[in-house]
């Protein structure tokens, strides 16, 4: 144990959406900051024989419409070129352009999937990565989409699922339930939606849920965070109205504005860093759920199956996701560890989302044996060793100019909803159906087509689910 772990009282995990490590941080590699990033020569071939090379000219929005594929089928295509390649083979990371072409994108246009950000365009993420600990070997927990990867962050398993089905009521036990069993509280703070609302183990207790603006930020100011907090970004562009301001989605899911996510990360950091007592007792983890189809050069390694529950493809269904035994990790994602007890450093240890759970158990319940949820978190590397300083840092953290959240434009509000947002709307509809008929919103979710309509619907249902 170290001074940092001794002082630790709170772990806060902020999980962003759908960007790979190289896409966000790869071009920040330099002799002074030798992360496992990009050399600039990495490339993928398109179907017309062209070569698409990585470039550092990604823009905040506009590059990634249509939404790049990141289902099991898409992710395995990106890893191997052929999605039916046995996952026992080492990935070649050669199918990103090919996969994007599968979204009805012309070969030349599909080169956009190789675009990555320059360091100066992501001052907050890069600034925190360089001034604290960046984990350049943190992989998503499976080659697949949002829900199963987020499920791993909640429960160290996706219960054998790689799909975006909306019902996750059977996902149990979660880290929240396990902490509760041992007398520790946890809260999921969210903006407009959280898949955790579907977890049957949490649904009966409003104490598991809080509003980001109305609860998380005041709790930070009041030094009243629970031992474990999970933060969800805003998933939909909201038009506001009736006295409410409009808000842009901050999840960074393609093609939402990446700068809004920068503003959110900055807000979270400042909320914790601005309270000295909280700062010195908190470990903030910023991580992305999965790569969202964006390019990364690092081949995901093998891993252990969490619970020997496999995904089996049904050849008679329209589902294209190949059978999968959960022994291969998904594409690498950005992950940053922040605490005044962490010096600027690069951690090359292998992690996945289950590492966050394993570390939380180790730090918050150090004397409880066999507390793991699945084999995945039992075998996961933990990262508490990065809290290595004997005294908390007091140096100035420079993240550049303040990034202010901006309202969505009319075009952004009218944007058709992406698959993830569609699933969140359906999830809300499912939850609403469980309410007595006289307490429902009266909105037909099947007609929600745009971002602003989705935001309005999610808000209406949330007011009833979590009044």
């Amino acid at each position: 144990m170290s001074a940092g772990t001794d002082a630790l009282k709170h772990i806060v995990v902020l999980m962003m959406e759908n960007r790979s490590f190289d896409h966000m941080l790869g071009f920040a590699k330099s002799p002074a900051w030798p992360i496992n990033g990009l050399t600039g020569s990495e490339n993928n071939a398109d179907s017309a024989g062209g070569v698409a090379q990585v470039s550092n000219d990604a823009t905040y929005a506009g590059d990634l419409t249509p939404d790049p594929g990141h289902s099991g089928f898409d992710s395995l295509t990106q890893l191997y070129g052929n999605p039916n390649t046995p996952v026992t083979q080492n990935p070649t990371m050669s199918g990103f352009v090919q996969s994007y072409e599968g979204k009805n994108v012309q070969p030349q246009d599909a080169h956009r999937i190789m675009k990555c950000f320059s360091a100066q365009n992501l001052p907050v993420l890069t600034g925190l990565a360089q001034q604290f600990c960046v984990c350049d070997n943190w992989f998503s927990s499976l080659p697949g989409p949002t829900f199963p990867n987020r499920a791993f962050m909640h429960a160290a398993t996706s219960m054998g699922r790689v799909d975006m089905g909306i019902d996750w009521s059977n996902l149990s036990p979660t880290i929240y339930e396990r902490l509760k069993e041992h007398g520790l509280d946890s809260v999921i703070y969210y903006h407009d939606s959280t898949m955790a609302s579907t977890f049957s183990g949490l649904a009966g207790d409003p104490g598991y849920f809080g509003s980001f603006d109305n609860d998380f930020l005041p709790a930070c100011a009041d030094n009243d965070l629970p031992p474990y907090s999970f933060l969800e970004p805003r998933f939909a562009n909201s038009a506001g109205g009736n006295g409410q301001l409009a808000y842009s989605a901050s999840d960074q899911h393609p093609d939402h504005n990446v700068r809004e996510g920068e503003a959110l990360i900055q807000t979270v950091f400042k909320a914790i860093w601005g309270n000295l007592k909280l700062r010195n007792s908190t470990l903030l983890v910023i991580v992305y759920d999965e790569h969202g189809g964006t390019y990364d050069h690092a081949a995901p390694p093998t891993t252990v199956s969490p619970d020997r529950k496999d995904w089996t493809n049904d050849p008679n269904s329209a589902d294209r996701d190949p059978s999968f035994d959960f022994t291969r990790l998904g594409v690498r994602v950005p992950a940053i560890l922040i605490s005044p007890y962490i010096p600027p450093r690069i951690d090359h240890t292998l992690y996945d989302h289950a590492s966050a759970i394993a570390t939380a158990f180790k730090l918050l319940l150090p004397n409880v044996p066999n507390i793991n949820l699945t084999q995945r978190d039992k075998n996961a590397n933990t990262f508490e060793g990065n809290l290595s300083l004997a005294q908390p840092r007091t140096d100035n953290i420079d993240l550049g100019p303040v990034i202010q959240s901006q309202p969505p434009t009319a075009a952004e509000l009218a944007q058709p909803i992406n698959d993830h947002l569609k699933a969140l709307v359906q999830q809300a509809a499912m939850l609403e159906q469980k309410l007595p008929a006289d307490q429902r919103s009266g909105i037909d979710p099947s007609t929600v087509q745009t971002e602003s309509q989705a935001a309005a619907y999610l808000s209406a249902v949330d007011a009833r689910i979590h009044p």
Binding site: G240, P407, S446, A463
Partner: protein, 446 residues
């Protein structure tokens, strides 16, 4: 106080009917199942939604509630159930608002509103509002630069006037009519390097018109009053109104909130100068939220507030403050600010004012999840309790503003909530020595 409220006093029957309608219109209890063919529908636009929800061809009975919700919330246009000023009666109208957001941190909105009441009062406003994010380091509060441009016109054909001062007789009311037009600009900005202070200013032109009422069974102001007893009755010049203000505000120790506004006003008579005057206004509101969520913020629907209002006007020797620009207490004032609800609207009038207003608000039932559902719970989920005690006085000289001889009022009532917002409130004021005074508020977003 109910935020953004408008208020009227009316007959019990019409008010209770409106309360019932609002409750029914807005109650989620009346929503249909999402899979039902008669559900409210979010179509491609709110207009599509309204057409589908309010189609009269079939199922109108089942569509009634969806239609009502659409009618009062659709954008860019929706209907309003509001009043104009206290005493103007039940009213309705419409609001057209269009968002003009730009991708430079600015939220712009153009809004046109018009309301007319059953007693013939009406109000129209065109407003452009803009909120511009300030990212400079000096902006410690993170608040935006606000700009409002507005043009307003209202016609108030029958208002009571009880005379000036704190000792007027309730039975000596006369009636007058007022019409005013105003146009101006208001700017608010965060103050450099402090997070708890903002500042701003307003400049507007005012064109008031005041006169007698010719209706039967009422006594017109011109029959009883003169320029001496009602300054400004003889002529109403155009005014230039300039205001500068500071707005200290802070939240501390989680449960406490201060919201002060200190404003200095210049009302310049643009004609002869006879009615020019200056006014210092101080509003100091203190709120305490007794309930706090574990690991979260306070429960905003449960609070105790104390508001101290102090306003003194200063006209030079030989000049006068027009009666229609003087402060009032009783019911609510002409800007719909409640004070001493045991008294009739505008009951006491004078150039100077001091009130202390206390209020306790809370939603009756705490959130329960899961909890036993049923009629009682459904009703309870929508009900709030309000208790208030006010004391205050107006004065003809600022030296008379003290705590002696203050009028007092206490009362209570219920609020109707839609989710976390109060949409309607009905209460009774007592203790003023002038009978029982029922009063009703409705949120201005309806």
């Amino acid at each position: 106080m109910l935020r953004g409220e408008c208020r009227w006093r009316s007959k019990w029957v019409s008010a209770v009917a409106l309360a019932g309608c609002l409750f029914i219109f807005l109650s989620p209890a009346k929503a249909q199942t999402p899979s039902s063919s008669s559900t409210a529908v979010t179509g491609t636009t709110d207009w599509d939604q309204w057409k589908r929800n309010c189609s009269l061809f079939h199922d109108f009975g089942q569509k009634f509630f969806s239609c009502a919700t659409s009618t009062f919330t659709a954008r860019p246009f929706h209907f309003l159930a509001q009043t104009v000023v206290p005493g103007s009666g039940v009213g309705g109208g419409g609001r057209y608002s269009v968002d003009l957001n730009a991708k430079n941190g600015t939220q712009n909105q153009l809004q046109a509103t018009s309301v007319v009441t059953i007693r013939g009062f009406w109000y129209a406003e065109l407003k452009f509002s803009s909120q511009h994010a300030i990212t400079a380091d000096w902006n410690k509060s993170g608040e935006s630069l606000g700009l409002n441009l507005f043009v307003r016109n209202r016609s108030l054909p029958n208002l009571p006037f009880y005379g000036l001062g704190s000792n007027t007789n309730v039975n000596n009311a006369v009636r007058y009519k007022q019409r005013d037009t105003s146009a101006g600009i208001q700017v608010t900005t965060p103050f450099p390097d402090v997070s708890w202070l903002s500042a701003g200013g307003t400049i507007e032109g005012l064109w008031p018109e005041v006169g007698g009422v010719s209706a039967t069974n009422v006594i017109s102001i011109q029959q009883e009053d003169t320029e001496q007893t009602a300054p400004g009755l003889a002529t109403q010049p155009p005014f230039v109104h300039e205001q500068i203000f500071l707005n200290p505000h802070a939240r501390f120790l989680t449960r406490f909130e201060l919201n002060y506004k200190v404003a200095y006003n210049f009302y310049q008579d643009a004609s002869t100068g006879h009615y020019s005057f200056r006014r210092l206004e101080i509003n100091a509101e203190h709120r305490f939220y007794p309930q706090k969520k574990k690991y979260g913020g306070v429960i905003e629907q449960n609070y105790f507030s104390v508001l101290w209002r102090y306003s003194v006007s200063d006209a030079s020797a030989g000049h006068a403050v027009p009666f229609y620009l003087q402060e009032t207490i009783g019911g609510s004032d002409i800007d719909n600010q409640p004070s001493l609800p045991a008294f009739k609207d505008y009951r006491f009038r004078g150039p100077d004012l001091m009130t202390v207003q206390t209020e306790y608000d809370r939603k009756i039932c705490d959130v329960c999840e899961p909890c036993k559902k049923g009629l009682i719970r459904t009703v309870c989920d929508h009900l709030g309790l309000v208790l208030d005690y006010d004391a205050g006085k107006v004065a003809l000289r600022d030296s008379d503003l003290d705590f002696s001889g203050m009028h007092q009022s206490f009362g209570g009532g219920i609020s109707i909530y839609l989710a976390k917002d109060v949409v309607f409130r009905m209460a009774v004021g007592l203790g003023g020595g002038e009978g029982t005074h029922p009063y009703f508020n409705v949120a201005n977003f309806l």
